[in-house]
């Protein structure tokens, strides 16, 4: 019985410790340290983002892809054009070279 009472007393006194906990002041340098940390991170971020923003980066990438695609298409169509010209010159006995074509014409005459 005595032990139970003792235990209950101890429990109550342990729980009452909550009321005796005093205030603890934050370190006087806390504000400076935190401000430094906050704005260090921001400055690092702005080095990249100030002029070359994410939207601009995406737009640049898109331009690059479009220009490359156009160049490829154009290259393919130029090849087709050359092939067509070659085919037609062979077919009709015509050549690019003006000297050769003159010679051929002279021979024919």
């Amino acid at each position: 019985m005595k032990t139970t009472n003792n235990i209950h007393e101890k429990i109550n006194s342990t729980l009452s410790v909550c009321d005796t906990i005093g205030d603890v002041k934050v370190s006087p340098f806390f504000k400076d340290k935190t401000m430094q940390r906050l704005f260090e991170e921001k400055e690092e971020e702005t080095v990249y983002s100030s002029w070359f923003a994410t939207k601009l980066q995406l737009a640049t990438l898109l331009c690059f892809v479009v220009l490359n695609a156009l160049a490829l298409i154009r290259l393919n169509s130029t090849n087709k054009y050359d092939v067509n010209v070659n085919e037609s010159t062979n077919l009709y006995g015509l050549f690019y070279d003006s000297e050769t074509s003159i010679l051929i014409n002279l021979k024919d005459e």
Partner: protein, 192 residues
């Protein structure tokens, strides 16, 4: 209106606004941190993390609650995150010790290594026992008990911080006290 203007300045990343914010909240945030984590250095690190989080997430703040409530919510979450990490590390160290790797390990190390300048020397032992018991409570009970009994928030404030109704805060408070008494009873029965 005044708060709205202040929040807008924070969203714009104005340095003077953050300076004012830290001045206004540093003590209260730190006090909440040291209530959950009774170690001055760790509490300061967590408090700093709170302001970094505010800085990063201020644009996500929808202004459904007061700025102070939002900041205390972040503080509580950061403290719980810290405690969870510490407990995981302890579990990992325990596994390592089972597997035979030599890691110096003390099960109760973190919550008995108290460095709380607000605790009187004659209460040091009892405080250690109390904080160990609080750490054994389920998370929601631990939060409500700490915010109420150690940090001194009212039930209404706790309900806003934890996004719970006042009645459920009261019920959690009742259960936490009951469980704490049980935990302390077991402890004293073993150590009498």
């Amino acid at each position: 209106m005044e708060e709205e203007k202040f929040i807008q300045e924070l969203k714009d990343g104005k340095k003077f606004a953050y300076s004012k914010l830290i001045e206004l909240f540093e003590q209260k945030v730190f006090t909440t941190c040291i209530s959950f984590v009774p170690n001055k250095e760790d509490a300061e690190d967590i408090a700093q993390e709170v302001f970094v989080e505010v800085f990063k997430s201020i644009n996500k703040f929808k202004e459904n609650s007061k700025l102070s409530t939002w900041i205390y919510r972040i503080t509580t979450n950061k403290c719980l995150e810290f405690i969870r990490k510490k407990n995981t590390k302890k579990r990992f160290a325990f596994l390592q010790s089972i597997l035979g790797n030599e890691i110096p390990f003390d099960k109760t190390q973190y919550f008995t290594e108290m460095n709380h300048p607000g605790i009187l020397l004659e209460n040091q032992e009892q405080s250690e026992i109390l904080f160990k018991a609080i750490n054994k409570l389920p998370e929601d009970q631990r939060v409500v008990f700490t915010l109420s009994k150690i940090d001194g928030f009212s039930n209404k404030e706790i309900s806003e911080i934890t996004n719970k109704s006042v009645s459920s805060v009261e019920s959690l408070m009742f259960r936490s006290k009951k469980n704490l008494k049980k935990l302390l009873e077991n402890f004293y029965k073993k150590n009498m």
